[in-house]
C-alpha cells in the first residue's frame, strides 16, 4: 500500500536567497523551521520535496523538486536546503519570483532517493541531462563521504563516480563550476558544442569508453529528459549493465495518495506484481529493466 515516507513532514521554510543559475534556472535557498533529518544526518541523494507559495501566487498543487544541496548554517539550526529550479511554467515561475523572506510550504523529504550508491560493484556513471543534474550533486558527495569513511576504517572505498553532464547548450549546464569542485570525473557535452564535447551524453560515454577514460563495466544512474532516459535504458540493456533512471512524473500529492504519478511496470520484473508503480513513493528512481519509459 503506497504511503508517505515515515520521515516526511509538512512545514514552512523561509526563502533565504534566490540566485539566477544558467539561462533559465534559479538556486533557491530555504531554511526549514524543523530539521528534515535526525541528528544532522545528511539527506539521502535524490530525495525530493514538494514546494509552493501560500500567498495565492503559486498554483494550488505544489511542485516536486530534488534536493540539490544542503548547506550548514551558523549555530545549530537545521541545514539550509538548496533547490536548483528550471523555470518552465507557473509553478516554477512563482517560486523563482519569490522574494527572500517569503515562507514556502515545504513537504518532505519524499521518495526513496537513489539506490544505495555505496554498495560494492562497478563504478557509477551518472548521466545528467540539463536540470536533471540536480540529484547528482549530493550523489557524488555521498560517495566521497563513504570513501572517506572507508579510508578511516581501512576498508575498500567505493570507486569514484563519473559525471557526464549534457544539455542543449552551455547556458543549460547549470552550476557547472560547482560540479567541477566535486570529487568525481566530470565530462560535459552540449548538442551545439558550446561547452565540452559536441553531442549527447551517450555519445560522450561511448567516446570516453573508446578512449579508455571510463571502464566498460559500469553502473548507470540517469536523470534528464525522457528521450535521454530511454537511450540510456537501451544502451545499458544492450550491454547487460545495471541502469537506474529518475523520473519526473507529474505529481498531485507526492505522498502516495492520489495515484497520479503512475509508471507502467514490466510484467514479470521485480515490480511486475502490479501494472504500475507510484513514482513519488516507490521512486523517483527505478531500475530500467522494471519500468516502461
Amino acid at each position: 500500500m503506497p504511503a508517505p515516507p515515515p520521515d516526511a513532514q509538512t512545514q514552512l521554510a523561509e526563502l533565504i536567497s534566490v540566485e539566477p543559475c544558467g539561462t533559465d534556472g534559479v538556486l533557491l535557498r530555504l531554511r526549514p523551521e524543523a530539521p528534515v533529518t535526525q541528528d544532522g544526518a545528511p539527506l539521502a541523494p535524490n530525495r525530493f520535496f514538494m514546494l509552493r507559495r501560500e500567498d495565492g501566487l503559486s498554483p494550488a498543487i505544489p511542485r516536486p523538486f530534488s534536493i540539490y544541496r544542503e548547506v550548514p548554517t551558523e549555530g545549530d539550526g537545521p541545514a539550509d536546503l538548496v533547490f536548483l529550479v528550471k523555470v518552465i511554467g507557473p509553478g516554477t515561475r512563482a517560486l523563482a519570483e519569490s522574494a527572500p523572506g517569503t515562507f514556502l510550504r515545504l513537504i518532505g523529504p519524499l521518495g526513496l532517493g537513489w539506490p544505495d550508491l555505496t554498495t560494492p560493484g562497478d563504478p557509477w556513471v551518472f548521466l545528467a541531462g540539463g536540470i536533471g543534474s540536480a540529484p547528482f550533486f549530493m550523489a557524488v558527495e555521498s560517495l566521497t563521504r563513504a570513501g572517506d569513511a572507508a579510508e578511516e576504517a581501512g576498508t575498500e572505498p567505493p570507486a569514484a563516480p563519473y559525471l557526464l553532464y549534457g544539455a542543449a547548450t552551455a547556458g543549460l549546464v547549470y552550476d557547472v563550476e560547482e560540479f567541477a569542485e566535486l570529487d568525481c570525473s566530470l565530462h560535459v557535452a552540449t548538442d551545439d558544442g558550446s561547452l565540452g564535447f559536441r553531442g549527447n551524453v551517450l555519445q560522450l560515454l561511448d567516446r570516453l569508453i573508446a578512449d579508455g577514460l571510463v571502464p566498460e563495466r559500469l553502473r548507470i544512474a540517469a536523470c534528464g529528459p525522457l528521450p535521454m532516459l530511454r537511450a540510456a535504458q537501451t544502451w545499458a540493456a544492450a550491454r547487460d549493465l545495471e541502469c537506474w533512471a529518475s523520473l519526473e512524473e507529474l505529481m498531485g500529492c507526492g505522498v502516495g495518495i492520489c495515484n497520479g504519478c503512475v509508471v507502467e511496470t514490466v510484467p514479470g520484473s521485480e515490480l511486475g506484481s502490479w501494472p504500475n508503480v507510484k513514482a513519488c513513493v516507490e521512486g523517483p528512481a527505478f531500475r530500467c529493466d522494471t519500468v516502461v519509459l
Partner: protein, 323 residues
C-alpha cells in the same frame, strides 16, 4: 471553549471534519501529517470487490482553479482491504468510514455483505458517482430509481449508517437525494467531482489520457455548495458537504447551507497537514462570532425559507445510534 462536535446519523463526531475519499489514503496512512483524533472521521479511498488497475497516464492535470483526475478507482480490492488495511484501524481514536464502489448493482451489496459488520468500520459511504469508470456514464447517481435500488441493496446488508455519495452532474440533485433517502440512506455526501477536461491547444493534447475526468478543488465550491443546499432542503437525513473546501470559513459556509459535516479533498494536496489546523481555526472563528456550539449553525442560512418551513431550522439528531 467552543463545542465542535456534531451528531451525524447517530455517530458522535468530535468535529465536522472528514477527509474526502481518494485524497487521504485507504486507512490512516496520512497519520504522520494529521493525527487520527484530529478528524471527526476518516474516509477511505473507494474499495471495490476486485482489484482495479486504474486508467492510463496522464491521470491528473491542474487547471486555473482546480484539479482534474481520471484515476479510475485504482485499488487492490476488498480482500486486500480486509487483510492489510482493516487490522491497522483497530483501536484508532477516530471514526472510520469505508467508501465502497461497484461496477454493477450486485457489487455494492456484495461489498456491504462482506464488510457490513466489521467492527473497525463505523459507517459506509457508497460511491454512486465516480466519473472515471464505465465511460463517465454515472448511471448510479443520475438515475433516481437505480440510485434508490443500489442504496436499498446495501441497506439490507449492514446495520451501520450508510452515506450515499452523489454526483453534481445532474440537473436536479434533490430528486436523487430523495431517492437515496427512500432507499434507506442515513446521510448524503454532496458531492463527488464534476466532469471536466483540459486541452493544450498548441499540442492539441488533452491534459488527461482519457480526455475527460473529475474536476475538484477551489473552482467547484459554489457548485458543491448549491448541491449540498438543495440536498439539505430536499431530505431530512444529514448532508456531508464536499467540494472545494479549503478553509475554516468554507467549512462554516457549508454548515450554514445545511450540512452537518464536511469533507476536504484536493486542498490536502496543497498541504497534507491542512486538516490538522482546521479544528483550531474553527474554534477561533466561532469564538470571535460568539457562537458556543458549532452545531447551532447547521442549516441557519437565510434563504427565505427560514420563517416558512420548519425543516430550515437546525435539524435535531433524530437517528439513534446503531451498534
Amino acid at each position: 471553549m467552543v463545542d465542535l462536535s456534531v451528531d451525524l446519523a447517530g455517530l458522535r463526531l468530535r468535529n465536522p471534519l472528514l477527509s474526502a475519499s481518494g485524497t487521504f489514503g485507504h486507512g490512516l496512512e496520512m497519520g504522520g501529517f494529521v493525527a487520527p483524533e484530529a478528524l471527526g472521521a476518516w474516509v477511505s479511498k473507494t474499495v471495490t470487490l476486485e482489484p482495479r488497475h486504474g486508467n492510463p497516464a496522464p491521470r491528473i492535470a491542474e487547471t486555473e482553479a482546480g484539479f482534474l483526475n481520471s484515476i479510475g478507482l485504482e485499488n487492490r480490492g476488498v480482500e486486500h482491504y480486509e487483510r492489510e488495511v482493516l487490522p491497522t484501524l483497530v483501536g484508532a481514536d477516530t471514526l472510520i468510514v469505508t467508501n465502497i464502489g461497484g461496477k454493477q448493482l450486485e457489487d455494492f451489496a456484495a461489498m456491504a455483505e462482506r464488510l457490513g459488520e466489521r467492527p473497525e468500520i463505523h459507517a459506509f459511504e457508497v460511491n454512486l458517482s465516480c466519473p472515471n469508470v464505465q465511460g463517465a456514464k454515472l448511471q448510479y447517481s443520475t438515475d433516481p430509481d437505480l440510485a434508490e435500488r443500489t442504496i436499498a441493496s446495501v441497506r439490507t446488508k449492514t446495520s451501520k449508517p450508510i452515506f450515499a455519495k452523489l454526483s453534481p452532474n445532474v440537473a436536479r440533485i434533490g430528486e436523487i437525494a430523495k431517492a437515496v433517502e427512500a432507499g434507506g440512506a442515513d446521510g448524503i455526501t454532496a458531492v463527488n467531482t464534476l466532469l471536466g477536461m483540459s486541452v493544450d491547444w498548441r499540442s492539441r493534447r488533452p491534459g488527461l489520457a482519457l480526455v475527460q475526468g473529475g474536476y475538484s478543488g477551489t473552482g467547484i465550491k459554489p457548485v458543491a455548495l448549491r448541491c449540498a443546499w438543495e440536498c439539505a432542503r430536499s431530505v431530512s437525513i444529514p448532508i456531508i458537504g464536499c467540494g472545494g473546501i479549503a478553509t475554516a470559513d468554507d467549512v462554516l459556509e457549508f454548515l450554514v447551507a445545511g450540512c452537518t459535516a464536511v469533507q476536504v479533498g484536493t486542498a490536502s494536496f496543497s498541504d497534507p497537514g491542512l486538516l490538522a489546523g482546521l479544528p483550531a481555526q474553527l474554534e477561533a472563528l466561532l469564538e470571535s462570532a460568539g457562537i458556543p456550539r458549532l452545531s447551532d449553525l447547521i442549516g441557519t442560512i437565510r434563504d427565505g425559507r427560514e420563517a416558512a418551513s420548519p425543516s430550515a431550522s437546525p435539524k435535531p439528531a433524530t437517528q439513534v445510534a446503531r451498534s
